[in-house]
Each structure stands twice: as structure tokens, then as C-alpha cells.
């Protein structure tokens, strides 16, 4: 479904990703872990097409197509969805307004207001959100937990096929995290999709039944494994990986 090969990315003349490789098949849930500032969020934004990041080499192939040749809108229409760790507010623009426009754009025709409202109401119910969220400004005046749920409302409405969850667990209390994870799992049962998750905590990896765990250091994946790798990180931290990289860096320099 998504194949990233030898990707190098820079921002503000600083190399953030360097020879990054990742392969995710349909239905799989992959997680990326790594210390702060290592480039985990960068990979999420690069897949979505954030123009602040410059791809200097490598490829991203999504369902056989070159993703790097597509603009952000096209990527979203192809089914890529990014849930950011801090979803921004857009004052004065309602969820309904944005979603109806996005769906119409995706389907190439104006979406029926009756069908749209029905689906919005059903989705709000599913997420235990009041109906007032339909016409609320996007993430406007919402708490961290409400914002995440609001983004899930967008996910259910837009029905993406490849979901990027960038620290979706940040700022969520235990109950909210459970609601969010249950909801994503329910979505997975009813929609054939893949997920790329970025997180610092093994807990959410368990809750989302992650199949593959990757550790990032020095702008690339340095180790891959299953859930036991996340548990190892939770117990021992990243020092083993960063040390290994420091050594290899020194050797290269020599």
C-alpha cells in the first residue's frame, strides 16, 4: 500500500530524514517510536505533503503511484488522512461546511444535504459527541480530547484508507484514550485501511493491536520488530540505539 524508499528530507537546511525506508501493506498497523526531535512527525507531514519539508532524494509509492508528484489535496482525495498531535483551530469555519465541501470535491458532485446530515448525526452519536459539533468551528474552543474526537469525526466522514496518527495519545486522559482507540479499532473493522502510528507509549500500541514497531534514530529506522520491541523501549529507553548510531557515525567520519 505504502512504500517509502531511501527518503531524505530537509527543513531549513537541516537534514531531518536520511535514508528512511518503510513498507506498509493494506490492513497493517505500524508504529514508529523514537526520542523527541528525531523526525517522527516529519515523516507524517512528508507523507501528507507539507511543502515546508524538502525531499532531496527517495520515493514514496502509494498504491503504485508516486505520492511525491501529488499535491496535498490529491493525496487526501486518494485516501490519506493525517491526525495531528495538536489539531489546529480554524475560526469561523464549521465542521459541516468543510466536510461537505471535501466530500463534494472527492465525489466530483455536490453531496446531498439530507444524506450528509444523516451521516454526520450518526457519526456524532458513534463518537458520543453532541450534535452541536456539526456546526461548530473546526476545533474552535475545544479541549485536547474534544479535538481528537473532532478529528475522528472527520475520519469517519471522509473514510480514508491510509491513516497517520501523530501522537494521537498526547494530552488524552485514560478514558479519552480508550474511547479514541476503540473508535479507531471500530473503523478498522468496517473499513479496509492501514495505519501509521507515532507514539512514545507502548500502551496505545497494544490498544491498537500494532503489528510492526520501528525505532527511529539519526533520521531513519534502525530496528524493527513486534510489540515486544515497544515494551523493551518502555523499560530501557532509547540509549542502546542512539549509542549504536553514535558509533557508526564516528566510524563513517573516520
Amino acid at each position: 500500500m505504502l512504500k517509502i524508499s531511501n527518503l531524505s528530507v530537509q527543513i531549513d537546511k537541516k537534514k531531518v530524514l536520511n535514508g528512511f525506508n518503510l513498507n506498509i501493506s493494506l490492513g497493517e498497523v505500524h508504529a514508529i517510536m523514537g526520542p523527541n526531535g528525531i523526525g517522527k512527525s516529519t515523516i507524517c507531514k512528508v507523507i501528507m505533503g507539507d511543502s515546508n519539508y524538502i525531499v532531496s532524494s527517495g520515493t514514496i509509492i502509494y498504491n503504485g503511484e508516486d505520492l511525491l508528484k501529488m499535491d496535498v489535496t490529491t493525496r487526501a482525495k486518494k485516501g490519506i488522512f493525517l491526525l495531528n498531535q495538536t489539531p489546529i483551530e480554524i475560526p469561523g469555519v464549521s465542521n459541516a461546511e468543510m466536510l461537505r465541501m471535501a466530500l463534494s470535491e472527492k465525489e466530483g458532485k455536490l453531496v446531498s444535504i439530507f444524506d450528509f446530515n444523516k451521516k454526520m448525526e450518526e457519526t456524532c452519536q458513534k463518537l458520543n459527541l453532541p450534535k452541536s459539533f456539526i456546526h461548530r468551528g473546526i476545533n474552535e474552543g475545544m479541549s485536547g480530547g474534544e479535538r481528537k474526537k473532532n478529528e475522528l469525526l472527520h475520519m469517519w466522514m471522509l473514510e480514508p484508507k491510509f491513516i497517520i496518527l501523530d501522537e494521537v495519545d498526547s494530552g488524552l486522559d485514560v478514558d479519552s484514550l480508550k474511547i479514541v482507540c476503540d473508535n479507531i479499532n471500530e473503523y478498522r473493522k468496517t473499513h479496509k485501511c492501514s495505519i501509521l502510528l507515532v507514539s512514545h507509549h507502548a500502551n496505545i500500541l497494544k490498544m491498537l493491536d500494532v503489528s510492526d514497531v520501528h525505532i527511529m534514530a539519526n533520521g531513519k529506522i534502525v530496528k524493527s520488530g513486534d510489540l515486544s520491541l515497544a515494551l523493551e523501549i518502555e523499560n530501557n529507553g532509547y540509549s542502546a540505539y542512539s549509542k549504536a548510531n553514535e558509533v557508526s557515525e564516528v566510524l563513517i567520519n573516520e
Binding site: M48, G49, D50, S51, N52, D71, V72, T73, R75, A76, K77, F81, L82, P87, I88, I90, P91, G92, V93, E97, M98, L99, M101, A102, L103, E105, K106, G137, I138, H154, L158
Partner: protein, 219 residues
Amino acid sequence: MNKINIDNIMYTDEIILLENKSIRKIKVSGKCQIDIINSKVNELIIEADDNSSLLINYFNIINKQYSKIDIKVKNKSSVIFNHSFKVLDKYNLDIKTDFLGKESSITVNLSGLNDGAKTIVDVKGYVKKNKNNNVLDENMRFININNGTVMSNPNMYIDTSLVIANHNTAIGGVSSNELFYLMSKGLSKEESVKLICNGFLINKILSDELRIKVKEVLN
């Protein structure tokens, strides 16, 4: 009982909608919300009597216009003046605020979208000697698109230390973060810019009815 005098016509309503009018003078005694859309405002005097509360939501699409707006409040009163506008050519806006008594507040919120246009805004807020315990707020936000330009002067002339006064101006383009966010939901760049600009214009309008009308006008 409310006594609202708009160009010598008396109203008692708490919410008044003025559409396609030419307005010169608003005098309020009591509590009132006045929504103004597509109306001609060249020289407008707004007065709030003692113990009054006035909220004005005013939206216009402007080609070429010069407007001079004078806001005066007496004792223990408040006036909130929310003015959103889209300028297509040229807009000169002069706003003067003055406290005629004590313990009152005046808030001026301007949200301007310059679509290839030129806007010059002068706000002069006066708090004179012995006019104590008043609150003055001047908030100005402008978005420039298609090479629009803005000159904004939020001034305050304060002659007492017993006052709370704030003034600020922010001028910029469409936020790249907001643009990326909307495009990542599948909206085209053009649609995203339109939504962001329209949202910016209606955001400070504290009237659901006027918001709907403004959206109709903008679309």
C-alpha cells in the same frame, strides 16, 4: 424599557437588523444588539446613554468608501463594535471613541479582508482626565490576499491612570498551517483560501442571523 433612536426612528427591540440602509446616528438607552449589513455608513455617530449596553455587528463588502465613525459612551455602559469587511478597491476608515463618563467600556473589533485592495484604518481612542475606571479595547485583524495592503493606526490618547486600555493590530496573509490543514482534508487550495477568509470575516460577528446573511453574501 429600551429606547433606541436610529436616524430619528424609535425602536424598542432588543435585536435590530438594518439591511440596505443609510445610517447616520444611533442612540441607545437600554440594552440592544444592532446587526448591520450592506448598508451605507459614511458618517455615523453612536451614543450609549447611562447604564446601557450596545452590541453592533456590522458587515459590508466595500468597493470604494470613506467612513467616519464616532462612538461615545456615558456612565456604566458598554459598547462592542464588531466590524467585518471585505474590501475590493479602497477603504478609508476613521474611528473615534470617547468616554463621556465613568465605569464604562468600549471594544472595537475590526476584521478586514483586503482582496487586492488598499485599506487605511485610523482608530483614535480617547480617555480624558477624570473619566476614570473605563476599559478600552482596540483589536484589529487584517488578511491581505491578491496583493492587498493595509495601513493600520490603533492610537490611544489617555489622560488618566485609572483605566484599562489595550490596542493591537495584526496584518498577514492566509495562514499556511490553516491552508495545509484544509487541503489535507481534500479541499483544493482555492476552496481552502475561500473558507479561511470567509471564516475570518464571520468569526467576530456575534449574531447567528447576521452570520447566515454574511455567508450568503460571500458565497
